[in-house]
């Protein structure tokens, strides 16, 4: 009988946070990742600020978020209490996985945070700046190996955009995919690849310690606290940010959408949220409502174009 009793206790412990939720947020990824942390941070902020009495987070991992997205579209239809967290990676995953559901089928609420892509080389590398990298790339594209996250993700897309901007065939980019920025970091530090490309946060501590040299950041203008030229200042006309967003269910009314927007707006301007962003080192790139919807459309189009150029999407 023991295992039954135990199973009941365990099931109870897991179900504990499920009591009477005002909001139910889906993190379409495994616990611990960026989307999961975003969802759980929202949970903390919404509850601490008494915007919502109880918030429940559930994880549905898989395939760049498209599995969770499909489940959300099917099950949350018309329910204003359900939210989903997502991000730029999802835009690419929908295209490369030929996902049956897309972000057109949810109600975009707001872009919450963003991270810029950093281009780094080991301290001992003979590449000193963006111009040095571009020269090498033009001489022999295959000889420059790029270490970053999974194929078709933000890192890969950025590498493709840089090649395209300097007139190198994006299909010639020698991109070495790692399961994440962390594993790629080891390869960059060990000098296994020529350059590393990933979110700034993955490299921040190494840059501070002087073991990696940053040669460019993918923002439009210089970012406070990051001592690096933008890609544009380095002569490469590329800017990109890996954003995270929150969206509501399909089929909700305009009033319901406005209510969710108001709650999210209240959360983003709260002290709890500001503190969470500072602790986690996330940049506040809040963009809400129709402006965000327009930006999302633009991002989707440019992503589809570059994924075709790299050859990942037919």
């Amino acid at each position: 009988m023991k295992q039954f009793v135990l199973a009941t206790i365990v099931a109870g412990a897991i179900a504990l946070p499920a009591a009477a939720a005002d909001y139910k947020i889906m993190a379409p990824a495994a616990p611990g990742g960026g989307w999961d942390q975003t969802a759980r941070s929202m949970q903390t902020a919404l509850q601490d600020e008494k915007i919502s009495a109880s918030v429940q987070v559930n994880n549905v991992p898989g395939a760049g978020g498209t599995i969770g997205l499909a489940q959300f579209v099917n099950q949350a239809n018309g329910d204003p209490a359900q939210l989903i967290v997502g991000g730029y990676v999802m835009v690419g995953a929908i295209l490369t996985n030929a996902s049956p559901v897309t972000l057109d089928q949810v109600t975009p609420i707001a872009r919450l945070t963003g991270e810029y892509e950093a281009l780094v080389v080991p301290a001992a590398s003979d590449i000193k700046d963006m111009a040095g990298l571009v020269a090498k790339l033009k001489a022999d594209p295959g000889a420059v190996s790029w270490g970053g996250g999974s194929a078709g993700g933000t890192d890969h897309i950025t590498a493709g955009l840089i090649a395209k901007a300097v007139g190198v065939d994006p299909t010639k980019v020698n991109y070495i995919a790692y399961s994440g920025g962390g594993e790629a970091l080891a390869a960059i530090l060990g000098g296994q690849v020529t350059v590393g490309i990933s979110g700034y946060g993955e490299f921040a501590e190494q840059i501070k310690a002087g073991t990696l040299r940053i040669i460019g950041i993918s923002s439009d203008a210089k970012v406070e606290g990051i001592d690096a030229p933008t890609f544009k200042e380095g002569g490469v006309d590329v800017s990109i940010q890996n954003w995270r967003m929150v969206a509501a269910a399909p089929g909700i009314s305009a009033e319901q959408k406005a209510a969710v927007l108001a709650d999210v707006d209240k959360m983003v301007t709260s002290a709890s949220w500001t503190k969470i962003l500072a602790d986690k080192g996330w940049a506040n790139t809040y963009l809400a409502g129709d402006e965000f919807a327009a930006q999302l459309k633009k991002d989707t189009e440019s992503t589809a174009a570059i994924l075709k150029d790299i050859g990942l999407v037919k």
Partner: protein, 518 residues
Amino acid sequence: MDTFGLLAQGLLTALEPINMLYALIGVTLGTAVGVLPGIGPALTVALLLPVTYKLDPAGSLIMFAGIYYGGMYGGSTTSILLNTPGESASIVTALEGNKMARNGRGGPALATAAIGSFVAGLLATIGLAFIAPTVVKMALSFGPAEYFALMILAFMTVSAAFGDSTLRGLTALFIGLALGLIGIDLQTGQARLAFGIPDLLDGVEVTTLAVALFAVGEALSVAASKGGDSTIQAIKGSVWMTREDWRRSWKPWLRGTAIGFPIGAMPAGGAEIGTFLSYSVEKNLTTKPEEFGKGAIEGVAGPEAANNASAAGTLVPLLTLGLPTTATAAIMLAGFQQFGLQPGPLLFATNPQLVWGLIASLLVANLMLLVLNLPLIGVWIKLLTIPTPWLYAGILLFATLGTIGANSAVFQLNVFGLFSWPMSFELGMLLAFGLLGYGLRRFGYPIAPVVVGLILGPMAEQQLRRALAISQGDPMILVHSPIAIVLLLLAATAVLLPLYLRARGRGKVLAQLGASED
């Protein structure tokens, strides 16, 4: 302050009564959730992380360490007693551990796992404190070519160690390798063998396959064997480890630690490789090879120590480089970020108190686990006195619950538009692989190589392709460094030595050894 001083200070903090209470709560919660198959330490910590938010940093870290080690230990308990490995690193434990439990030696199996985990945790944590910078330098020199050579070594030793019959062992291994191809290819982002099913895009979950093959397959075998003859003998001899058990355990504990710690410290290692290698080593060095496959205590002691040592090993790249190399380490990173800390090369210098506090709390949690679990062993093994049909019904319930708990994605199954009900794809896979497991058992194929193939296959493939991409197609990169050459030579020895011995006329001895293993 020097290392000892800092560690002592951390220990003093950790030993305060209120912090001991947090450790106790953490260990208990962790063990309780960790026993569910499919819910490994990573998920356990993620689920319980919010509980620690409200505590002060010291209390929070201590509870955190308790949950982590508790989750790991919970996984071994179910592996041994119920043959349902809760995570990939305790798969090897199930091999000998469950056989021991069925022979009435569940008590010694649990004890050697607990004490071995403690010894390995202790030694590896001390290693973490003193040689982390050296270890990390060595780990960074591993490029794709070296990793590929390590995988080859693992393949060779593992297929030699797990198969009674080479052909059957290799067949099982290749089933696993084929399953490992399912999903999105990391290097190109293209789906392979997914047949348009979105749930297959991420590939086959290792724990789902392991639980299905081990637990569900076995439940089916028991149901299929007429009359459900009870092969389980709950208690035979002492519940505690005998002098003989101690004598046979201590060397495997130390060897397991020596293997597990450096592999855990590698940025792309994975704890399970250490457990495989440790099992192979113990099987080769044992004085009683005839017991392997039937419940050899060395086969529990070594891999369990390796498992725990590599868990401490993963903290090396996390604390020195800010590199989370496993799901669990990624969650630990989130734990650090609660306090606005970013682990990295400067952490030891900028926040020594917190780092040493964490290391001290790992030691305390480890000790707490031992204190909590040794007296409980007597209670745990009573589980096995449950009549077989009931026990297996419970195991099936457990396996199902764990699988749903780990992956709750559901879809509506529609039958000819007439009926529609919610279905979990993961559960479907659990049942399908359960049938496969039954088939393998029925026809005498070993189970472990299937799981090993699923774990190692994709790693070996990615590393090989990375190496070739970096060298732009030149295969010489695979033997460009001394490390790679040495690893490949070791792998070749593992294959060629038996052939050589046979040629020298000692084939009879090997044949006898082989025959007695069946």
